[in-house]
Subunit: 355 residues, 2 copies
């Protein structure tokens, strides 16, 4: 026989406070909202009563009346298929950052898993139409991202992690991918490398283009033609990184260095190199981009451009809050430059012919 606990007294509402203090619920509501029309003395009285009974505004009541949901939605891309389980691991840190920004506000974070870009657009549509959230954060920005057009058109508050290639006003946070790719490539060129491979995401992703731009610029500045044939394009899985290496090392004029786009692919690249018996730092150089500081533990540790992604997350959250307050998106833009963490020399220990 299950013993049921005595029904707990229902949580206090503004009605409770009205009865306690003798004021009307209208006054209670205004007092708690810090409305200037209520006399300071009564406001204090009401606050005292609220504290006394531990009053917490009922989110559902507020939501219905105001039409707000007090939810900040985050679209989180997860590839369901095998080979991809390591994908998106950095989202743990991203969510943590966003949540930190939301802490202490009335907003909660709801996470919507999306399978691909189309799914993401549909999720955005649903969130707007059904008022599932008051603001939206998403990443994986395409060069021509329909979500950005949609949200800008609807005047729906959002912050994107990444920039699209259209000239629109929207709040965003990004990594300076052009700069990072340029810096990495230039460093390898300075080390004497000429055959440099770029392991890149698909070209429809906006930052894939940014990376290519930086890659090409580094060669141009050195008076060289960029080896466009050495740009591998694919999903950013570990499997892809590994396959890219295997493919490249089977052509005649094989690359002597790799620029990797994220940790997942980097791990794959290292795995591929190991499988083919190539030693990093001896036969080939690798320079990577890192956002959860894990490259230090790879074998061997690789030189990276590091940008803690939690910081991006925090910024995303803060920007979204301000955007939901109605702030002009023009003011809400930040592009981070990762810092170089050199863990290896990039000239194969000096064995490479310098020009």
């Amino acid at each position: 026989m299950q013993v049921h606990r005595a029904r707990r007294t229902p949580p206090p509402t503004i009605k409770t406070l009205a009865e306690m203090t003798g004021y009307s619920i209208a006054t209670i509501s205004k007092a708690l909202r810090e409305s200037p029309v209520v006399a300071p003395a009564t406001r204090d009285l009401i606050y005292k009563a609220a504290r006394e009974v531990g009053y917490q505004a009922n989110a559902r009541g507020m939501a219905l009346r105001t039409g707000k949901s007090f939810q900040a939605a985050v679209l989180m891309p997860v590839t369901a298929a095998r080979y991809y389980e390591w994908d998106g691991v950095e989202y743990t840190q991203t969510l943590s950052g966003i949540s930190q920004a939301l802490d202490g506000t009335d907003y909660r974070m709801s996470v919507h898993i999306i399978r691909d870009a189309a799914d993401g657009a549909e999720a955005a549509r649903r969130i707007i139409d059904q008022g599932l959230a008051d603001g939206l954060i998403f990443s994986g920005i395409l060069a021509e991202d329909p979500r950005i057009d949609l949200l800008v058109g609807e005047h729906f508050p959002f912050v994107s992690m990444g920039r699209c290639r259209k000239d629109l006003d929207y709040a965003h946070v990004d990594i300076d991918n052009e700069w990072a790719a340029h810096a990495a490539t230039a460093r390898l060129i300075a080390g004497g490398h000429r055959r440099i491979a770029l392991v890149n995401p698909e070209r429809r992703l906006s930052y894939a283009l940014d990376r290519i731009d930086g890659f090409v610029r580094a060669f141009r500045e050195a008076g060289l033609d960029a080896p466009m044939a050495l740009i591998a394009e694919g999903d950013l899985s570990t499997h892809f990184g590994r396959q890219a290496v295997i493919d490249f090392l089977q052509v005649d004029d094989e690359p002597t260095a790799f620029v990797c786009i994220n940790e997942s692919t980097t791990l794959g690249v290292l795995s591929g190199l190991a499988a083919l018996g190539r030693q990093v730092g001896v036969d080939v150089d690798v320079i990577a981009y890192d956002d959860i500081n894990v490259s230090a533990y790879f074998t061997p540790p690789v030189t990276t451009f590091y940008q803690p992604i939690e910081v991006l997350g925090r910024t995303l959250g803060h920007f979204l809050l301000r955007r939901m307050e109605g702030e002009d998106p023009k003011a809400l833009r930040q592009v981070f430059r990762p810092t170089l963490i050199a863990r290896q020399s990039d000239d194969l220990g000096g064995r490479l012919n310098r020009t």
Copy 2:
């Protein structure tokens, strides 16, 4: 000058449908809830009208009236500090699994980041008190987890990923850690290993005890004493895994094999071994537990017990749905046994003295 779009027509409500069909809102509501009191003919009519205008029940209205939030809360542990950025990466897959289970229901997934166990208990408290969610999923179960007592006491629907050591009725999903640790250890013992190290989480975590149990049982069954001094305890960071190796390899009678608890530590262990010049499969054997299938890409690939964590996530979600429907938690328990993926022989290529 910003051009504002014409105010969009407000979304249809049951009132809209009432006007369209001529029925009262009460009938509309009942029809949509499939209540048997409304005549089938009218139900059909009302459904038709609803489809016509694309009616979607307003979540806020429902929430206020029913007192439900239609949120499934997930507590997601994230260690903020440096050294821990790789921690919890498997949560991407976990969330994906949960979300898959929730797909097509009225429930949304809200994620609450927690910093530690105490933070988790506080979050649970807040979720119950403020009715922030109708159900809860959490992991990182302690041997004596206060959250489980709390939630069982409050009759709040929840599913835990992992079991505590108390004999309580609650829905849960778990890995058979005792079995896995036993299998891994027994395999190494069969390979001739005697000095086997267990890289384990802190002992207050319930599954840390399970692992120790399995570890000890494997030795006992072989007629040996388990080397309790070779059990390293710490957070599950990459940093910890590396440090554990470095510590162990500086003692006299150093271990010849390592059993690792998760991928983060495994990566650390491999990093530590590489740093000390030990070759896996030559000087030392490593067997690991893997939930996002990444160990295949480590250098060298390591033998693992693999359990795709997304499957656990899906089960968690399904169990929570059933629990929120009021189903007896006794029926909602599942313990998964990971499958062995042998990527190396575990007797150092036969070089180890067999007993």
